[in-house]
Amino acid sequence: MPERPAITVADPMITVLRPGLLSSLQDLGRRGHAAIGLGASGAMDPTLLRIANWLVGNDDDAAAIECTLLGPRLRFDVASVIAWCGADSEALLDGRHFPTWRPVPVEPGSVLDLAALRRGARGYLAVAGGIAVAPVLGSRSVDLNAGIGPCEGRALRAGDRLALNAAAEPAMRAPSWSVAPSHWLDTSAVRVLRVLRGSHHAALDPRSRDALTGERFRVAADSNRVGVRLTGPTLALQEPLELVSAAATRGTVQLPPSGQPIMLAAEHPTTGGYPRIAHLIDADHGALAQCRPGDHVLLRLVDADEAESVRRRRAAALARLRDTVRQRRRESGCDEST
């Protein structure tokens, strides 16, 4: 190990050396304010956020750093434990391979370079104890579109310093075990997104109805945390619909006049007036979050019963994983103090 200069800081901190393409603090979102026009925001891939938090001993809802396509370069001013769950990358911790999907200790002065993400668009870096920013309206999620949340409601910038909650004293090494990503991170060449019919699905012309769930779409480059734009066959209604604005929800597939559908994501507007042709099932938000610009997606129609059985299977599998991670952490000596 090279010698590191001594760093004395009053509060445990992470310093952002390079912000990456779009890195922001996210938890599971801000609930209960949609009626005043403020949406939930929160992690685009909530499942990966939860797993990363479990790996470092946090609650589900602790704030972590959501990274997009190109990860940040960070320096830790104190010893801590971190975990990355997300798309694969050639991440380096102090110049060496950074093991992912498991708890990893860092030392004062450690530098983590998360590099470019591959075969997926997003990932989460959780830190033991969570990132200690004051919640805004009950959440530490940044809403980039509304400009609301910690860090002035913006993405991370070089020079930002993030306070950490009580620094863990990690008398541990990175364990040899890790969570198998394959269950939780879809890296297939054509991503299948399961959808339920929207109330205006029947208003599509027959050819468009077939195309919606029969043909491939591509993820457009201007997709973001507000919505994922799908380009492909132009969809049309049998006749124009005049709709008055109604609540919009995460996962709703809207059809604007362009005929190119938009799948609403974490920072969607709380109301909208476009036809609702389909809705992504709750279990597939993570799959949507991992779509990179240019990726192929195929929407697959399911019914409410199938959506519910998928939700239950996934909830049960996640609960099992949480218990396993807890047990493995105990066995690895991660939780000596508790």
Binding site: R31, G37, T271
Partner: protein
């Protein structure tokens, strides 16, 4: 009765209660009555109630409504039934409402002259008509704290600008179609700008952060450009 005429499933974690399909004050009042009645049930598995012009979204936690006989959406819809049986008249409409001071025209309302000309009115008469209206907040949306107001005089309706502005200043009072609203902060926007209020409509330090809420009455009061600044709260 607040019974919706239809209940639509918005995917697997929200319902949309439909009360109509047009912008109508009576329909919107029923939306707010239903929202209050459902909130009054204090159901723990309800995450959000989001009013629209003619509908109310109920976002729910599917794990809470898990059931062997029905989907969570069906179970949640069933649990809402007691709220539909309450009287829609219990509105609490006696509130005096909120007065919004507005400086009409000039640099604060750069589209007032064009809007007035299209309506065949003088700018002054247009502003007077706008300030004489009795408005009600149909819903908040578009951006945090942005109120869509019902009650615009039909003579004042304006088409949206063909080329939306990339920056509409905070406090801008605007007309889009049959709707009027107020931009709570600087935002892009395509509505016609007829004036501006010094009042802050959305402040995260306040509780609640929104000055206006769905269902509230609103009146505009014309002020001079030289009037005092932010009226505070």
């Amino acid at each position: 009765m607040n019974t919706p005429r239809a209940i639509e499933e918005l995917g697997d974690r929200a319902l949309l209660l439909q009360y109509g399909d047009s912008i109508d004050a009576d329909v919107n009042a029923r939306v707010h009555a239903a929202s209050r009645a459902i909130a009054g049930l204090r159901l723990p598995g309800i995450v959000e109630l989001v009013p629209g012009y003619a509908s109310l979204a109920v976002v729910f936690d599917p794990a809470y409504w898990q059931d062997e006989e029905a989907t969570p959406a069906q179970r949640c819809a069933l649990a809402l039934q007691p709220a539909f049986a309450t009287s829609a008249a219990a509105t609490g409409d006696a509130d005096a409402g909120v007065e919004i001071p507005v400086c009409y025209g000039g640099e604060f309302g750069p589209d007032l002259d064009e809007a007035a000309a299209r309506s065949g009115l003088s700018p002054r008469a247009f502003a007077d008509l706008h300030a004489a209206g009795d408005y009600r907040v149909a819903m908040l949306g578009f951006a945090p704290g942005f109120p869509y107001l019902l009650g615009l005089d039909a003579r004042l309706q304006q088409p949206r600008r063909t080329s939306p502005r990339t920056r509409v200043p905070a406090g801008s009072v605007a007309i889009g179609g049959a709707q009027t609203g107020i931009y709570p902060r600087e935002l892009p926007g395509g509505w016609m700008l007829i004036g501006r209020t010094p009042l802050s409509l959305f402040d995260l330090r306040a509780a609640p952060p929104n000055r206006l809420a769905a269902g509230m009455r609103v009146r505009f009061v014309a002020i001079d450009a030289g009037a005092p600044g932010d009226h505070g709260r």
